[in-house]
């Protein structure tokens, strides 16, 4: 059985070099790993930009950066962190985990999955290439019109890189959401009803719906900015009857659900890790699931809380204040259920557990300050100050990113067959938690004392000095934390891949197969008998086992279903296994789309204006041809051909 598996993998990738294997892969695990490292590289870039900004802001009247450069840095920091780091890091987990957790061999549309990745990666590279052309986006990640839509206020190609880069990133994200929605709905192993799915899978499903409903609004808004800039339309030009506030509505109808797109998957991660290390099931599973759904639903009705100072009127402000406060209720339910999960458990303080536990109080701080500026009068003072900066860094930095780090430590053995060093991990944890709090907590005080966001410099005499300095020191400490992480990763990869299948005494199906899993994931599709399927297999279905099985008695599980009935059936199962072929078409389609986007930027340039449409045309032809190739690609090949 193991031999045949080895042969199968060889048939799958036999005559291809390592590089070709990776760039043509349609294997969800490999794509997940590509997402992970690409997004992590972008994360480090965004972190570096933040470090430069914090250096500029360390002392008053600093002249290190020009205002133009500073504006570029904060625009890119936000844009990269949101669209190119945290979201794709979440996507990395979707990719690696969802099929493994639901007992599937791959996602529903493997080539589309590769296309999502390449469109994300190339969109990110297009965005970053603006550094080479000295045209780095400078209108903020929120790109308020008419500053961004009117070329009198933002001449040059800065905003064009942003608009076209974001459109590409958006396409990748939308396609990926569709893929995971279909995968989760259609490809669950027998017995895995919706209410038996791991919470992470639930949150992926909810997030996919959020993306599908929220991103089109951004896409439309970006097209309107693009038309204003490229073709002189007047969507956002008040002098010609346009309305700049329309962009704010379009942007935040996307932008607020986006916050939950960034935060719900990390909440899913937490909901997997805490039960594992407390050795107890998630407290109140249905409540956690429905709280997630409630948050997602409400998130579409709160966008105007980003616009309380716009002057929409008293009634809209009152309504949106109320809906915003409502979101605190399901969020609170989640937090209390995590506490309930830990309570009465038997808690192991691994690095992953530390990060997951730290998420609870840190995210709570961000949640509470969120309630503060849901109160409209308070927001009149706090809006666009460092108080807000502190708030969303507690939600996304100390929240999402902390959970993502927990996830990386937790699933690293599953992804790479190697365990990250726990000692270095714990050092990193403390360094990072101290650094993050040192950076972001004083920002509350700065905001209360009137320090505005997006100021490239600040005057002396406003009492800001100690807090700004402290924040900058914290930022450097955070950087040290990431450096420790990199050391840990390098060190880990120099060791042999010897991680066991189930190093943490896991509870969900991904721990039932080897680390890293074989190309086909499950030799036989598992039959799911309840929530936390793998835990049930290990500990039996009796309701209250009281002692752990000794490590030696844990079932050997190479290749899938721990159920020992009918061993010979596994060979037949292998025979019937269909694995999708590697394909060049997703990559080529993405390249075509990227060329089209680049053509749009070329069209806006003064010297190469006339080349714009030809470049778009070339891109379009590449897209068409590759789509044809995609449609007619042969699908034979991987039915375990050498086995028989």
């Amino acid at each position: 059985m193991v031999e045949s598996a080895v042969r199968l993998e060889r048939a799958h990738y036999g005559r291809r070099s390592k590089i070709v294997e990776w760039i043509t892969t349609v294997d969800h695990k490999k794509i997940g790993i590509l997402y992970l490292w690409t997004a992590f590289a972008f994360l480090l870039i965004a972190g570096l930009l933040a470090l430069i900004m914090r250096t500029q802001l360390a002392v008053p009247e600093n002249k290190l950066l020009s205002p133009q450069t500073y504006n570029e840095l904060f625009t890119m920091h936000g844009t990269i962190m949101i669209f190119m780091a945290v979201m794709p890091l979440n996507a990395a987990f979707f990719n690696v985990l969802v099929p493994l957790m639901i007992g599937a061999r791959d996602v529903a549309f493997p080539r589309l999955n590769a296309f999502s990745y390449w469109t994300f990666a190339l969109g990110g590279i297009l965005m970053l290439s603006s550094f080479l052309f000295g045209a780095v986006p400078n209108g903020g990640w929120f790109g308020y019109t008419p500053l961004t839509s009117d070329i009198r206020y933002t001449p040059g190609l800065h905003i064009d890189f942003w608009v076209f880069g974001l459109q590409l990133l958006g396409i990748g994200t939308l396609v990926s959401a569709l893929n995971f929605f279909v995968t989760i709905v259609n490809m669950r192993a027998p017995g895995m009803s919706l209410m038996r799915m791991p919470v992470f899978v639930w949150m992926t499903l909810v997030t996919s719906v959020l993306i599908l409903l929220a991103f089109p609004s951004l896409t439309v808004g970006l097209f309107m900015i693009m038309f204003d800039r490229l073709f002189g339309t007047n969507f956002f030009n008040p002098a010609a009857g346009g309305d700049p506030v329309v962009w704010q509505h379009l942007f935040w109808i996307f932008g607020h659900p986006e916050v939950y797109i960034l935060v719900l998957p990390p909440m899913g991660i937490i909901s997997e890790i805490l039960p594992t290390f407390a050795r107890k099931p998630l407290f109140g599973y249905p409540f956690v699931v429905f709280a997630g759904i409630a948050i997602a639903f409400l998130s579409f009705g709160v966008w105007a809380h980003h616009m309380f100072t716009v002057g929409l009127g008293t009634v809209p402000n009152a309504v949106f204040a109320t809906t915003t406060m409502l979101i605190a209720i399901p969020t609170g339910v989640k937090i209390f259920n995590w506490l309930g999960t830990l309570w009465g458990g038997s808690i192991r303080f691994t690095t992953a557990a530390l990060y997951a536990i730290a998420f609870i109080p840190l995210f709570t701080i961000g949640g509470i300050s969120g309630v503060m500026h849901a109160s409209v009068p308070l927001d009149y003072q706090q809006h666009d100050t460092y108080f807000i900066v502190a708030h969303f860094h507690y939600v996304l930095g100390l929240g999402s990113l902390t959970a993502i780090l927990a996830g990386i430590y937790f699933w690293f053995p599953k992804m790479f067959g190697r365990m990250l060093d726990e000692r270095l991990g714990k050092i990193q944890f403390w360094v990072q938690i101290i650094g993050m709090n040192l950076t972001f907590f004083p920002m509350h005080f700065l905001g209360i004392d009137g320090m505005e966001r997006r100021y490239y410099t600040w005057p002396a005499g406003f009492g800001y000095e100690p807090w700004h300095l402290m924040a900058t020191i914290g930022a450097y400490i955070q950087a040290l934390g990431f450096l420790i992480f990199l050391v840990n990763v390098v060190k880990t990869f120099r060791q042999p891949a010897t991680a066991p299948a189930d190093p943490w005494d896991g509870r969900t199906l991904e721990w039932s197969i080897p680390s890293p899993p074989p190309a086909y994931n499950f030799a036989r599709i598992p039959i799911v008998r309840g929530r936390e399927a793998w835990w049930l297999e290990k500990y039996g279905t009796s309701h209250q086992p009281t002692r752990r099985p000794q490590p030696a008695t844990q079932p050997p599980i190479a290749g899938g279903q721990p159920d020992s009935e009918a061993h010979h059936a596994e060979d037949d199962a292998l025979l019937m296994m269909h694995l999708p072929n590697p394909s060049w078409m997703p990559l080529i389609t993405s390249i075509g789309l990227t060329i089209m986007a680049a053509g749009g930027i070329v069209y806006r340039s003064e010297s190469f204006h006339s080349l714009g449409f030809p470049v778009i045309g070339i891109g379009a032809v590449i897209v068409l041809i590759s789509l044809l190739g995609w449609a007619f690609e042969p699908i034979h090949g991987s039915h375990a051909p050498e086995h028989a």
Binding site: A321, I329, V371, G450
Partner: protein, 360 residues
């Protein structure tokens, strides 16, 4: 007593038995005391733009609301932190432990409780929130001073239609008398914010926003732009000068005078000539009432010499600062819209400074 309440009592009682919990509580109370002491020594309220030092009616209402919402928040956080800490200490795995904890899946009563408690807390916050949304929007009545606020990249224009006054960066208003601001913008979106006096409101092109507040103390207050508006967003400051009615009346009277006659000061006369030479560009952008200088792009300079601050509020109005500004505006404020057609000689700058500063 409801069974779940019994559960809570049991939990608290068992927590109290734990040595570690007591140790932690002692440490926490010391840290808390230190933190409170630190708060007393000015964690916030440290500077002239602090929302913690309210001097206007709505800023004061907001700060009072903030204080008690803050204490509710502290309470909520402490509940989470304390429960978490107790759980981590009590339920940590001991070395050699092979116990498997009871596999509890949930408790519906607890779920209902921790859904309802936040509902109550939020309702308590929502009531003053909503009533103040409406209170802030109330018509200030005919007594209010009307000011038209126009945001420009990167300075503020203030027009007093009732007094026929136009000024820049300095907003004069009267203590205990409401002000009604009509806000708009000449270019991109800005946001008007004097933190000690009032919350902020956006100045949006093509739209007029009304905003009203009443200053409660005389003095000079810092104001700033609160919506990202391009290169010099950080340097789009203004000052609100809250005066007594008499001081304000005197100021109005002075501002209503025609531009000062400078003919008795030869240097100023030379500066005046430089200013009005079309090729020097000044009159293309600036206005001086009753003269041929009718530009509308930059600030109106009729009473320039009477202002406290210049260049979008980043420099105090002194001859040295003004000559620095006129010599090279882009060095003082990179990206500013003040672009000189040619570099002025030091003599020309000196003459212009003499002229402009004499426009009291």
């Amino acid at each position: 007593m409801a069974p779940w309440l019994g559960g809570v009592v049991r939990v608290v009682r068992s927590a109290m038995k734990s040595q570690a919990v007591w140790r932690w509580l002692r440490q926490a109370s010391i840290i808390g005391a230190v933190a409170l002491a630190a708060a007393g020594c000015g964690v916030v309220g440290r500077g002239p733009a602090s929302t913690a030092l309210p001097a206007g009616d709505n800023a004061k209402t907001i700060w009072d609301m903030f204080i008690w919402i803050f204490w509710i928040s502290v309470l909520v956080f402490l509940v989470v932190a304390v429960v978490l800490t107790i759980a981590l200490i009590r339920f940590r795995e001991r070395p050699g432990e092979t116990r498997l904890p009871r596999q509890i899946h949930g408790n519906t009563r607890l779920e209902i409780a921790w859904t309802l408690v936040p509902v109550v807390i939020l309702a308590v916050i929502a009531v003053p929130t909503i009533s103040n949304i409406f209170a802030f929007d109330r018509d200030p009545g005919p007594n209010a001073i009307k000011v038209k606020v126009i945001g420009h990249q990167w300075w503020w224009e203030f027009q007093y239609p009732d007094y026929n006054i136009v000024t820049a960066d300095d907003l004069h208003i009267v203590v205990n008398r409401p002000v009604l601001l009509e806000m708009t913008s000449a270019d991109v979106i800005h946001s008007f914010w004097p933190p000690e006096l009032s919350g902020k409101r956006d100045a949006i092109p093509g739209k007029t926003n009304l905003w009203s507040f009443t200053p409660l103390k005389t003095g000079e207050y810092q104001g700033q732009c609160a919506q990202f508006c391009g290169d010099q967003h950080a340097n789009m400051r203004f000052r609100v000068i809250v005066q007594t009615q008499e001081e304000f009346d005197a100021w109005v009277k002075q501002q209503q005078q025609p531009a000062a006659d400078v003919s008795n000061n030869p240097l100023a006369v030379k500066g005046q000539q430089i200013f009005f030479t079309p090729s020097n560009g000044c009159i293309g952008c600036h206005m001086i009432n009753g003269t041929q200088a009718q530009g509308k792009v930059g600030p109106n300079l009729t009473h320039f010499g009477s202002r406290d601050i210049i260049a979008g509020g980043i420099l105090t109005n002194t001859p040295e600062n003004l000559s620095k500004w006129l010599t090279d505006p882009q060095a003082v404020k990179p990206g500013a819209k003040m672009v000189l057609p040619r570099k002025l000689t030091p003599d020309e700058v000196q003459a212009l400074v003499a002229y402009l500063e004499s426009l009291k």
